[in-house]
Symmetry: C2
Subunit: 235 residues, 2 copies
């Protein structure tokens, strides 16, 4: 389980990426070539508090020392929180049961200097009660075609959202979604749509017809990456 | 009232500083030369959620537009939260009644990638109960000579701490001090001393004799700047 700051997961030529940094760190301590498999990609600007990844190794380093050892080779913007041995058949992506994402909106009048890179500042007053009601319409199994980045392909856009919550705390609003999988930009588009509910542009019950329409243009805007955080991956 | 990230307050030749940045921003919108007086200096690495400063202006910009206008000229690591008109005799430093500081210790096993610049990571298990008891010994009027950076001069090292609290929340420990004034490095040294209590190096009741000794070397280490935050200045 690892925590990272606003660097994309996937390897890209000449670009800083989490996967490459961690593979390099593990290679340094094990002397092996490492292929890291994550629970999924996260885009540049998106944070993680609980990303997971697996790799194969013949190293003799005791498992309880692994996190510490890898961290000693990593830059401070990436931290391994825990390492554990898993079954040979375990696969960080295919074995995922559910994932939890959080989108953070700073709803105070002024943006925060300190937290500006981990939240989206939106100073207009929001109707939290309506946003809470709207969130419930996302729960269950739906075709989320209207809530994925247009132009991206994926076999099916049907996903299950187990829990969709809007939490208000001290001027900040947290949109927390737990589901069996998420389409590209899906959380950021859902957050943008809930924002439209919050400002009264659409009604909570409109979510139902937007889902049914399967039309991207009927949903809200894709909110910026920095407000998004992968909180937990469950197996 | 303003929020800033880890940049020193005071002007220094060729160095980024909060005072200079804000003076420049206000000058740009008012066309005047601005002398900003803050509630006090903060060192590089120390954060503020509630620093205050005053200045004189003949500008016609309505007061309720001032914060927004200054923010439009400032880099995102400095945000003005509020501007208000005050009495001619008001002085940001001399009129201060009390200040509240918070020192944040991340007491989890692994450092945080996301919050690494606003907290001090200390993975050793701490006895919070003892730290809470120890904190109470700082409350009241004392000579805090043992708790100021050695070699720094100030007329008197007598200060009143109105409230000293140790709060534990989800693997993080917050040391919160409210007082009529603080000596150079005083909060960071108190935090370091409470850490010594937490690991059992000294007992809570030792605080009393350390205060009485007035010897810097008997108190704990000065914890790093990044864990410190000026939370509020009260008038």
């Amino acid at each position: 389980m690892m925590e990272k700051v606003s660097i994309g997961w996937q390897k890209q030529r000449n670009k800083l990426n989490i996967q490459g940094e961690i593979e390099k760190a593990i290679s340094e301590i094990t002397g092996e070539q490492i292929d890291l498999i994550a629970s999924g990609r996260t885009d540049a600007g998106v944070h993680s508090l609980g990303q997971t990844a697996n790799f194969h190794t013949n190293s003799n380093i005791p498992i309880e020392k692994f996190a510490l050892a890898i961290n000693s080779k990593l830059k401070l913007s990436i931290r391994i929180k825990k390492a554990e041995e898993v079954d040979e058949r375990f696969h960080s992506r295919y074995s995922v049961k559910s994932k939890k994402y959080r989108y953070t909106i700073n709803n105070q009048e002024t943006a925060s200097a300190i937290f500006r890179n981990i939240e989206y500042h939106f100073p207009v007053k929001l109707d939290i009660q309506k946003m809470k009601i709207a969130a419930k319409f996302f729960e269950g199994e739906h075709d989320f075609k209207a809530f994925k980045a247009s132009g991206t392909s994926s076999k099916s856009s049907i996903r299950i959202i187990y829990k969709a919550e809007v939490i208000s705390d001290n001027g900040r609003i947290y949109i927390e979604l737990t589901g069996n999988g998420f389409l590209y930009n899906m959380v950021r588009i859902i957050a943008g749509t809930l924002l439209d509910v919050g400002i009264g542009k659409i009604n909570p019950e409109d979510i139902k017809s937007i889902l049914e329409s399967k039309e991207r243009k009927r949903a809200g805007k894709t909110l910026p990456a920095q407000g998004l955080c992968l909180v937990e991956v469950m197996y």
